[in-house]
Subunit: 236 residues, 2 copies
Amino acid sequence: MAKVDTSLVAHLPLFAGVKPEDLEEVLREARSARYPKNTAIFEQGADAQSFFLLLHGHVRAAKTTPTGEQIVVRYVAPGETFGLAMAIGAAHYPATAMAVDDSVVLIWPVSAWPRLIERFPAIAANTMQTVGKRLQESHTRILEMSTQQVEQRVAHALLRLAKQSGKKLDHGIEIDFPISRQDIAQMTGTTLHTVSRILSGWESQGLVESGRQRIILRDPHGIVVLAERNPDSGAA
Amino acid sequence: MAKVDTSLVAHLPLFAGVKPEDLEEVLREARSARYPKNTAIFEQGADAQSFFLLLHGHVRAAKTTPTGEQIVVRYVAPGETFGLAMAIGAAHYPATAMAVDDSVVLIWPVSAWPRLIERFPAIAANTMQTVGKRLQESHTRILEMSTQQVEQRVAHALLRLAKQSGKKLDHGIEIDFPISRQDIAQMTGTTLHTVSRILSGWESQGLVESGRQRIILRDPHGIVVLAERNPDSGAA
DNA sequence: CAGGGTGTTTGCGATAGCGCAAAACGGGCC
DNA sequence: GGCCCGTTTTGCGCTATCGCAAACACCCTG
């Protein structure tokens, strides 16, 4: 297993406030692993034995209901942590993590957590902020699901994905990992059919360009307008 | 301002792992205050200058959209903390807190937080768990909003309220604070009209008894059945 | 005890979005 | 180069739920 260069991760929010010379000690406790596209990293309900930092690739965290329905909790971008169950006192992972692209992660055993935060309180503080931010994002999502129609929610979801994982092209912004209509439906609380109809519509208006598991925002500003427009103020 | 007896709060999750003799020191940094029914404790967007522990009463945390729509983030029960913005690194309160009943709270200035968690790391850990639990509850709520119909969501919401703040009566469980149909609508992502219709239906089936800002679950088990039933498996 | 105001109930029409089904598409694999 | 499979598109009918409006009920106040 190749050693991870501290300079590659020193700037990450997780390590803010950790002295560079200490960082090596933190990394020594971790191992790295590669997960090919479409492999599970951990399963919902499994014992939370590790926590993770994504170095390369993209990971989808999804939650499944007893009846088999799924929602996408979030997409993890490089530099973000995931599988923090133990930090919040959960013994089992509350969701399933799947690599949607070939991905490389750092893995710490949960047993290292108490020692880490004792030696490096900044890590605990940073994690607290991360969890807090996710809580606020969740609330935003609930707010949107409560007050907006599907089209607006899809617009917001795409804009967030573009911001988090967008690759700038000269003719727009491309979501930088494979994502299906079904995935977007599971992020916005609708069906793949409705998402497909919406994207088709947008495509014919030149707002997006899309294909199999691929979406390019051709007119991000136009989508912002859609996202923010009051539903009953629109033209016919 | 009356001194708060440590024995009244020693058992709260927030103080788990804090030695009783240290508790007094923690409480010395707080002041207590009383908020009459229907007064705001803090407003969304205001500077987060304090964090709170509810001693008596009930508090509603609600978030408002730019266009004036509201959702209820949660109801705070006695013993719970709220207004933790600063713990998660937010400079402003992300929601408005309003006493829905005459309420008594302990108030710490945010400036006390760094000192507190340094001297009593258990408090930081407990807060982390609290925030983590709320995050999971948010995800559950998103899951429900994505996959269940309104009637089931209302059922779940009432069951949660009953669990958190239910008063046992011989003929059922009463939600122990004033709550309107509108409030329930804002918890479940629907309209007060739909909630009213649902409750009327349940009332005629003997599942609940309700009135002005008052709800009694007469048949909690029956409501559990509703909450869990697969929508398309029900009888007429 | 009457008045006013907030919360609740209910009817009715409108519709966004679902659900099902089938066809078209695309692309990788052999 | 053809085949197979997962993804996407699209049509069509259906209905859960909204939105508006009006009538009510209840409580607190004066």
